[in-house]
């Protein structure tokens, strides 16, 4: 297989056996980015010079040492929400357009320590507020399977980059579906960790109480390898758990005998596209064939998840975005006459509409007299959601459902359909609010639609878009979801499909076998 769509373990073998050098591999991806990024706008910043320098270093290490980390010399992309020392970090917002952090996020630092090569920073919805990348101040990214369609979001740039073969892996984040949904829409694998499993330090906060730092890659095995690097207690993030990090990749199962997999009735909802439902049911059948026991379960509080999210998220956002005030870094209004104007004009000019909407909603929800009715009550309901999941996980090892109720809609279509986000939220938000780990793995294709209404509009003849299977695990249950996802990928090849327009004409240059 060509390098552009290879798994990390395959690339690692080639690097280790000196079939290719890290410089060659990096140059190859940089060239692909140059050629293809204009089609999909996955990268906002490409760090060509630094990447080649790092690749040279990695080659020296490979030459010097017999045993190298699986990530040594492997290029990857980073969602532009992670602070990267010396590399512009924008959060896709005008307010941080020229911000260069003086430090690395912990997860970035960990990847650097493995001598992985940073290719650049990928696009997202502004401050991760959205599920399409359409709120990015620097233009939306496009879905490599059909560039007239959204890649999903907020980690849409990361998903598009991996789907188009512009990086074998990209770091991403989730607050309420931002890894699972774009992974599903772009036909790649995505891992949203247990809250507290991966340090949030240095990743620009959206909703501190459920931001999760994960990754999007080409296979579950790659994600398991990445999880081993990224996970663990961080002294700089007090919300990380002090739990051992298992060798997830070494223990991956290829059959699922004895595993109990729950299918929650509430996750198969009206408004889901028929093809999506079919593909997910097909996938569940595969899991059964692999030996898993499929059990129907019920999570009646599911519908409240989005309501809790709708209060907690903007509340925390309104506070987390307060630091963007034009005083110390970032955009500052040029025409302000006094302090009040520095604040109001800087923020009016710097933030996009969605950020402003959330700041206003959150400010309202936290105001005196409303706090108890909204924020406090939402947190109580959140506790009930957690309890409900805990109860169901006493009966099953993991849950499966769709990652998104629909395949990727047309750019702009989601904006006109308020239901679009709402139905998707049902599938993604409860687990996010409960801090649970989850995967999205490609499980086939479905007919594309014109609108975003999930089934009401007519399908577009011939256009097939990816569908994702979601696997949700209990708290700290990463191994279980990796097992289920990996076993599934040993008997299917949906994760190996390549969007036709991005299949390389000439394979990676260099010494070949």
């Amino acid at each position: 297989m060509d390098a552009s769509f290879s798994e990390i373990s395959e690339l690692h073998e080639k690097l280790k056996n000196k079939e290719i050098s890290s410089v060659e591999l990096t140059e190859y991806f940089l060239q692909r980015i140059k050629k293809h990024n204009p089609q999909i706008n996955a990268y906002l910043t490409v760090t060509e010079d630094a990447a080649l320098e790092e690749a040279k270093e990695a080659d020296k290490i490979i030459a010097r040492r017999g045993k190298i980390s699986v990530f040594t010399g492997i290029p990857f992309g980073i969602k532009d929400l992670f602070c990267t020392k010396g590399i512009r970090t924008t959060a896709s917002s005008k307010i941080l357009e020229n911000y260069v952090p003086p430090f690395d996020a912990t997860s970035v630092q960990k990847m650097r320590a493995e001598n992985a090569i940073i290719l650049g920073k990928t696009n997202l919805d502004e401050f991760a507020h959205g599920s399409s990348t359409e709120t990015s101040a620097f233009g939306e990214s496009k879905n490599p399977w059909d560039t007239s369609r959204i890649p999903g979001g907020s980690s849409g740039g990361s998903a598009a980059a991996v789907a188009a073969g512009l990086a074998p892996l990209a770091l991403a984040t989730e607050t309420g579906g931002s890894i699972r949904q774009p992974s599903s829409l772009c036909g790649v694998s995505g891992w949203k960790p247990t809250y507290g499993r991966v340090s949030r330090y240095g990743v620009i906060s959206m909703t501190s109480s459920n931001d999760s730092i994960g990754a999007i890659g080409r296979s579950v095995r790659d994600l398991a390898l990445t999880a081993e690097v990224m996970s663990g207690r961080d002294e700089k993030d007090a919300t990380t758990g002090n739990r051992e990090v298992p060798q997830y990749s070494a223990n991956l199962r290829t059959n699922l005998k004895g595993m109990k997999i729950g299918v929650p009735a509430e996750y198969f909802i009206d408004g889901m596209e028929d093809d999506v439902k079919k593909r997910v049911l097909d996938a569940i059948e595969e899991l059964r064939k692999l030996g898993a026991e499929i059990i129907d379960v019920s999570l009646p509080l599911t519908k409240y998840g989005s309501l809790v999210y709708a209060i907690v998220t903007p509340s925390e956002i309104s506070s987390n975005l307060s630091r963007f005030d034009g005083i110390r870094y970032g955009h500052q209004a040029k025409d302000a006459r006094d302090l009040a104007e520095i604040y109001s004009k800087t923020r009016a000019q710097g933030f996009g509409d969605e950020a402003k909407r959330r700041i206003m909603t959150g400010t309202y929800a936290l105001s005196a007299g409303y706090y108890e009715a909204y924020y406090l009550k939402a947190q109580k309901v959140r506790r009930l959601l957690v309890d409900e999941f805990n109860n169901v996980f006493e009966k099953v090892d993991c849950l499966v459902c769709a990652s998104s109720p629909n395949v990727a809609p047309k750019i702009g279509a989601a904006k006109d359909n308020p239901l679009f986000g709402y139905i998707a939220d049902q599938l993604n938000i409860p687990a996010a609010m409960a801090g649970l780990p989850a995967l999205s793995v490609p499980c086939g294709f479905g007919a594309a639609r014109d609108g975003a209404d999930g089934g009401a509009s007519s399908s577009v003849a011939g256009v097939q878009m990816p569908v994702g299977l979601q696997i949700i695990g209990p708290q700290w249950g990463e191994q279980k979801i990796f097992d289920a996802g990996h076993a599934y990928q040993t008997v299917t090849d949906w994760h190996k499909k390549m969007p036709p327009d991005f299949v390389p004409a000439s394979p990676l240059p260099g010494k070949r076998k």
Partner: protein
Amino acid sequence: MAENLKPSSGYAPVIGLEIHVQLKTKSKMFCDSPNNPDETAPNKNICEICTGQPGTLPVANREAVRLAVIVGQALNCRIEEYSKFDRKNYFYPDLPKGYQISQYDRPIAQNGYLDIEVPGENGGSASKRIRIRRAHLEEDAGKNIHPEGADYSLVDFNRAGTPLLEIVTEPDIASAKEAKIFLQELRNIIRYIGAGSADMEKGTMRLEPNISVRKPGQLELPAYKVEVKNINSFRFAESAIEYEIARQAEILKEGGMPKQVTMGWNEKAGQTMEQREKEEANDYRYFPEPDLPILHFSKEYLEEALASIPELPAQKRARFKREYGLPDADIRNLTEWKELTEFFEEAISELDELAGKALPLKFAKMAANWCLQDFSALLNAAKINPLESKVTPHNFAELIKLIEQSKISATAGKQVLAKMFELGGEPSRIMEDLGLAQVSDAAVIEQAINKVVSENAKAVADYKAGLQKSFGFLVGMAMKELKGKGNPQVVNDLLKKKLE
């Protein structure tokens, strides 16, 4: 005190205090930057966290939490099993994150009290209990700097994120004097614990009193209160509170009602002035800080903290009275200065050893006097504390012993102490070097007296004729003969005997 505030007038001040104490920790409240209130170069002690860079997270400083718990315990507060941090949201350039991490509804410490000694009737003193409502941890803000004539302002973040303990009393204080006594006692407790320097001049202890006045016969709390800011010394605190009480009482007397405002103390004008603050009700939109886990204090943790509290000023005062029988004023003066008290106690234990037996009370009294007078004067002049001086408690104790045993006169003792302070060293050696040893040997003194008596026949005759003045003259002559080193008591006694 203004005429209308005499207790008999019926106008009764109601004062509650809000005190911010900067905790003495190595690093700041939520990051590793040094916590150094003496740093003068701006933006030296900063990092990505305390300047609010995107994506940075706070981690609570364990030592700050421990100190807060201990101070809470010393103030007889209840320490709940759980405590949490909250965000207080507002915008200001010195506040890097746009919110201050503070504590809202679950402070570290609650419902305590501090007993203070206030002047009682007939010149005595009485104990008064001031209730403590709460004490909570929070981070300090930076400092805005407005360069003269410039059309911009600057921000120094050295102080941003340093740990503060905010202590709030119930409105139990009834006068400026009581407020001052409370503050001094609190300051001493903070210092004894080692939780901070609690120095109002340096800003490591800051006071915001809330003052209102009851009308004669009024039982309920007044419907308003006036907060006073910008108080940075004990003296200002007393003046500002007194001024405010008088101002409010005047308004009430004329049938008015003081406005609920924030005032600032203007030292030059000697009065409080209304601060031009927007008086819109601030809504800080408090909510639990999601970046920090809830604090949990186990029983063992709290027991350990309690056990680590050193002897507090009130206990020390009681013990000094019991053990050394020192006068109240001396005890108070000594214990006000933590390091001097420590020095005194070390000197006392040295004296114990020197004396080789239970310490005579006289030694303690002498040591206290020397600490409070000559030694304090030297320390104050040099602006250092006892532990920084060259006088060791051991040498100091020796000096006291030399004086007590009349091996040196008190006057010469002062010279020796000054020399010890300047150069260090043992007092006996310095005494020798300076030739200051006191002569108590009866034979030597008798010899001098004989000489003086034989050479001053007239004065001897005058004395015998009843002129008392002549005795003093003869003592003086004998001391002169002894080069000033004669033991005055022995000279006196022997001369009297000689002239009988």
